[in-house]
Symmetry: C2
Subunit: 108 residues, 2 copies
DNA sequence: CGTGTAAGGAATTCTGACACG
DNA sequence: CGTGTAAGGAATTCTGACACG
């Protein structure tokens, strides 16, 4: 039954009404955060938004930050930073691997 | 982002239309398999069926077995068996732990 | 800026039934 | 037995707008 991977975390299958129930946010709020580029639901064939569990987690995070008085523009920057950090981390890993390969005179 | 657990596997959040897309089954078929006690969706407040990713996996399994000419009654028995095996497995584990505890004169 | 609401249309879901076999 | 379909109603979702601030 269990998969071990978190493929289900990113699969966009949840409709907006269910996301409301899970997050406590209104449809209006959820659509607005999309407009402000904080979440990126997919669309079903005829145009209904579909969210992943990961999106739900992000939204709950957003809800907390908004309660603390943060603005969507700040949240946008913050998420940008997280993206960059992830990217930096991957880059660093690649560079270190490169150095190791050089040291051992290997090729990838 | 990743959780490590598969809590999302069992959370019932997917509506029947999306399940159709994921499984290739018709609404009629999915509702019928429910009637035959092969799947157990939850209901939202006003009565709409909600499925988990686990349910989707089960349905894909059912779809295969049905193609092979198996009947819902047989599938029902098979799933019953799997339940029993899981139960047996848990029981055996408990018994072994009991024997170990007895051997070492411990208490849980 | 962030969110509520009324508006109207289009698509979704539900149940019980008729049908074929 | 397993599944398709037409039927009618109720709830969902969508967009663009008015509103307050």
């Amino acid at each position: 039954m269990a998969t071990g991977s978190d493929a289900y975390l990113y699969k966009k299958v949840i409709s907006i009404g269910t996301v409301c129930e899970l997050t406590g946010l209104s449809e209006r709020q959820i659509r607005y955060y999309e407009k402000r580029k904080l979440i990126f639901p997919e669309r079903s064939e005829r145009g209904n938004r579909k969210y992943s569990f990961s999106d739900v987690e992000t939204l709950m995070d957003i809800a907390n930050k908004m309660e603390d008085g943060m603005q969507t523009s700040e949240l946008r920057k913050e998420m940008q930073n997280k993206q960059n950090k992830r990217y930096d981390s991957k880059l660093k890993e690649t560079m270190i691997r490169g150095q190791l390969n050089a040291y051992f005179n290997k090729r990838e």
